[in-house]
């Protein structure tokens, strides 16, 4: 029996009772392949004319796709959707992810038929509106960062990092120094994408310790910069997130950037935390040479359960010639895509077509809505909200850097106190789920054990923050006073669509697709 016909047979036999687990508004829902199938497709298409095939190859046999009608399909996905927590449900304090409100206006505008139904290879004369919009977004980002070169094509933050580091690589190549400049410096608190990106670009990574102070000190930087060459002439650049993932602004950044520039290196800034700065502070004014911006964080394009993102880069005039293509330029009244023929020094194309255009539309819609005054307020409210949480919780949780002064838009705590009672960060996260919240980012940054990184964003009210603070205090209190705290916490969550998962089991014997039993 062929694999395909076996699948079909299994589909016909396999009717598991699917609604046995339904209780109240909690639903069970089988995989599409396990459901009762319909005779008809959920899409009514006209009968083909029966023309002779001109493909020159055999016709496809049975694929084994499940077939359901439209109401069955709709119900399937609506029921599944009820198992997800989202920013529209409630507070989502995921550090470094900027889970802020996603305005529906942006969705509406991106769906304008004259944005949605244009093709990336149409003659430029027929897409002047799209090119004009991209150009305007480039201008907004240049103004907000004070970095005049902007390329919108990277598809996500990590892709922007790649674009930015390749831009740096090209600059060294042009100077004839790429063979000797192999080292990229990055603090141990950086996102995992930073070292992974540096390696993808052919660099070696040198970590800089930040544990003691939560920030990069001039001493630690100098030690890394001059470690194998007295002038730092083997260093290509550094990748630093600012504010960093401990929630702190790198206060010595200008001095560090100057030392790096003197040694001939470039400063890449991971812009994941740009929400702390937007409209108020410009990275181009504290020494950044190139950075990416996560439109899906700072500029509120929806996270969509993990993409699509968009990670434009902004850079100095010096580096702009090396950025990936395409970028949009204005010549007279006409907008034009700049290709590798127009800008031969470019590192080339890193993505098909022009980037995640639908995300560009949403981001510009968001920026126009806020304007210069609103964006500044975004930064201020985001920073105020994080400091409020930090000060309210520093008595209940270990806040490693709270004594040094204010945080930026994220508050960092650890489970140091709770661990004494057998309750760890993972347990606190699962307890938050039980109490109706999405947890914060856990076990990141890696500089300290059991970290909890809380990013409230500016779109939460004081009332919303107070409710979270109350729950966090309750959890700390329960961890301290419950005699069986460890067992009690290990059992969380109870009320979510699924209880705690055995993640090891999934990796031991990976099942990555439906197969007939």
């Amino acid at each position: 029996m062929s694999a395909e016909s076996k699948i079909v047979e299994m589909m016909e036999e396999d009717h598991k009772p699917e609604h046995d687990g339904d209780r109240g508004l909690h639903y069970e829902e089988n995989l599409l392949w396990e459901k009762e199938h319909s005779d008809s497709s959920g899409v009514d298409l006209p009968e083909p004319a029966g023309l002779k095939s001109r493909t020159g190859v055999a016709e496809r046999g049975n694929i084994g796709l499940p077939q359901v009608s439209e109401p069955q399909a709709l119900r399937h996905f609506v029921r599944m959707s009820t198992w997800n927590y989202s920013i529209d449900h409630g507070f989502f304090p995921l550090g470094s992810c900027t889970m802020k409100h996603n305005p529906r206006l942006n969705e509406k505008i991106a769906r304008h038929p004259k944005f949605a139904h244009i093709h990336p290879m149409q003659p430029e004369s027929t897409v002047q509106g799209a090119l004009g919009l991209i150009y305007e977004l480039q201008e907004w980002l240049a103004e907000l960062t004070n970095l005049p070169g902007v390329c919108l094509s990277p598809a996500a933050g990590a892709h922007g990092e790649l674009a930015g580091m390749m831009t740096i690589r090209r600059a060294h190549e042009q100077k004839g120094e790429i063979k000797k400049r192999k080292i990229v410096l990055t603090p141990d608190s950086s996102h995992g994408t930073n070292p992974a990106t540096a390696v993808t670009c052919g660099f070696e990574v040198r970590n800089m310790p930040t544990k003691e102070t939560g920030i990069l000190t001039v001493e630690a930087f100098k030690e890394a910069l001059y470690k194998t060459d007295p002038d730092g002439a083997d260093v290509a650049g550094m990748m630093v997130t600012n504010p960093n993932t401990c929630g702190l602004f790198e206060k010595d950044i200008i001095e560090i950037a100057n030392l790096l520039h003197k040694a001939g290196g470039y400063f890449y800034m991971d812009g994941a935390n740009f929400n702390a700065l937007v409209g108020k502070i410009r990275p181009g004014d504290f020494g950044v040479d190139v950075m990416h911006i996560n439109l899906h964080k700072t500029f509120s394009t929806p996270h969509g359960g993990g993409g699509p993102g968009s990670g434009p880069i902004c850079c100095t005039d010096e580096l702009a010639q090396f950025m990936p293509v395409p970028t949009v330029v204005k010549i007279g009244d006409m907008y034009k895509l700049e290709t590798i023929e127009d800008r031969p020094e470019s590192v080339g194309r890193l993505k098909g077509y022009q980037g995640q255009f639908g995300m560009h539309v949403r981001a510009l819609s968001y920026m126009l809505s806020h304007g210069a005054d609103g964006l500044k307020r975004v930064s201020e409210d985001a920073v105020l909200n994080a400091n409020y949480i930090l000060r309210q919780l520093e008595g209940d949780y270990y806040a490693p850097y709270a004594d040094q002064g204010p945080c930026m838009h994220e508050a960092l705590l650890t489970d140091k106190h709770q661990k004494e009672h057998g309750v760890q960060t993972l347990d606190i996260a699962k307890a938050l789920i039980e109490k109706g919240f999405h947890p914060m980012t856990v076990y990141f940054p890696l500089v300290l054990p059991g970290t909890m990184l809380i990013e409230p964003t500016e779109t939460e009210s004081k009332d919303s923050l107070d409710r979270f603070i109350t729950v966090m205090k309750d959890i700390a209190n329960e961890a301290e006073t419950n005699e069986n705290a460890a067992d009690h916490f290990h059992s969380f969550p109870h009320s979510s669509p699924r209880r705690r998962l055995d993640e090891v089991k999934a990796a031991r014997n990976p099942q990555l697709r439906w197969k007939p039993a």
Binding site: S40, S41, G42, V43, L45, R54, T55, E59, P66, Q67, V68, F77, N84, D88, E107, R111, I118, G129, L133, A156, A158, H191, P195, A196, T200, L248, K251, I253, G279, I281, D285, G304, G305, G307, P324, I340, G348, R349, L350, G352, G358, M359, M367, L368, S369, G371, G374, R377, L384, N385, S461, S464, R498, R500, L501, A506, A507, Q511, L512, R513
Partner: protein, 431 residues
């Protein structure tokens, strides 16, 4: 400022709690030189109506596919998307959720990814698939990088006409290897990591894989098959001979949207799973023994492995994968195959109409929903003149060649209008 819920009263109260006199006290660590003096040199905030008008003016300068006959493809296709798809992907629970790192409260996204992976594996005839990638071009590059990791070789062979953007992206990434990676056209040898072949190829012709499979077996190279029009897999045989199948899934569920966001897909043999890039969703169970889905094999990924990761990728195209999965669910076996047949028939009719014009020759004898014709003059100029007449007539390629795509959206009237316009343009140009 409708997106900001804090009141001045609550701001003042909170400042008191944090022990600050003013908001700027919280920015003590920021050097003075980095502050904007006042506010950015940009317009102030605007209401919804004003923003809609402003951006609508940009939209109105575009000529969109519904505005006239439309025959452009080349890796991005104009298909109809059922209303249900757009409704589901705008549900808050899918639209405004994060990556499913907390599986207890993200089973909706996780089960969807598992279904997506199953659809891709079935369509491509491969054993497993990942949770999606940025787009077809980057997925193809990741396939080449994966083949290099598996074979420990550094030569990439391009077996036929692949999409030029895909080739450019591949070249850009490989530049990072300091000239150690060779990209050539032709056939594999003993130093080849992989052969990349696109089917249908850039000019529209479907390919067979048996002889290339044999050469790969002889040389130890991997066979990478690229599919830029995934609807073709409803009519053409699955590339089961391949080691990796990757490409672009935009055609199912997503609008063309001037080039993105799209949906890279990536499928391969199970034995390569630990060398795969991107996210993977697998099956486990919860504390009550109930089946549950979870992101798995994370030890390949950057957030665990940092500089030792298989790729720097940190995300997938979650919502695009959802659109694809909903559209595939609606189509089902019969609908998907019928859609493919209708696409092929629309292209057959278009090809017949255009080649009935004097001096227009069909270059690709075999095709799926896109084919290449040879014009008696430069195709770039023809495309521009057609566009001025409101017809998007395909992609100008290689001097006189024109790539023409048709889909289920193409009507007989569109074909007639295209034929008449092309006839007129050619007689103008040639006279």
């Amino acid at each position: 400022m409708r997106y900001l819920p804090q009141t001045q009263k609550s701001r003042d109260e909170m400042l008191k709690v944090v022990g600050a006199n003013s908001i700027d006290d919280l920015y003590v660590d920021v050097p003075k030189a980095a502050f904007i003096d006042g506010k950015a040199n940009l317009p102030d905030h605007q209401g919804e109506l004003a923003v809609e008008r402003y951006l609508g003016a940009y939209a109105n300068q575009n000529h969109a596919a519904p505005d006239g006959p439309f025959f452009l493809g080349a890796g991005a296709y104009y298909h109809h998307v059922p209303a249900t798809v757009d409704y589901i992907i705008q549900r808050s629970e899918f639209l405004t959720a994060y990556t499913p790192y907390q599986p207890e409260i993200a089973q909706g996204t996780l089960q969807m990814i598992f279904e997506f992976q199953t659809f891709i594996a079935q369509l491509t005839g491969q054993e497993i698939a990942n949770a999606s990638m940025y787009d077809g071009a980057t997925a193809t590059t990741e396939a080449a990088l994966m083949a290099m990791r598996i074979t420990k070789r550094k030569k990439i062979v391009i077996g036929n006409a692949i999409h030029p953007d895909y080739r450019e992206v591949l070249q850009s990434y490989m530049w990072n290897f300091d000239g150690e990676v060779e990209i050539t056209d032709g056939e594999p040898d003993e130093t080849t990591a992989c052969v990349i072949i696109q089917s249908p190829d850039f000019y529209g012709a479907p390919h067979k894989y048996d002889s290339l499979r044999k050469k790969c077996d002889e040389t130890g190279a991997l066979l990478v098959v690229v599919v830029t029009e995934i609807v073709s897999l409803g009519l053409l045989p699955a590339p089961v001979e391949a080691d990796i199948v990757c490409g672009e899934g935009q055609s199912v569920g997503l609008p063309m949207s001037y080039g993105g966001p799209y949906l890279g897909f990536f499928a391969c043999r199970e034995k390569f799973v630990r060398q795969m890039p991107g996210r993977l969703c697998g099956i486990s169970e919860d504390a009550d023994g109930k089946r549950a889905f979870v992101l798995t094999l994370n030890t390949r990924e950057q957030h665990i492995r940092r500089d030792k990761a298989t790729s720097n990728i940190c995300t997938n195209q979650g919502l695009c994968a959802l659109a694809f999965t909903v559209h595939m669910s609606l189509l089902g076996e019969d609908g998907f195959k019928r859609l493919a047949t209708l696409n092929h028939e629309a292209a057959c009719k278009t090809a017949d109409a255009l080649t009935s014009i004097d001096g227009v020759e069909l270059v690709t004898e075999n095709f799926f929903n896109e084919f290449t014709i040879e014009l008696p003059t430069q195709s770039k100029e023809v495309v521009e003149v057609l566009a001025a007449k409101g017809i998007i007539g395909g992609l100008a390629a290689d001097d006189n060649k024109l790539l023409v795509a048709a889909t289920e959206v193409t009507t007989d009237e569109d074909i007639d209008a295209f034929k008449a316009a092309l006839q007129e343009v050619l007689s103008e140009v040639l006279s």
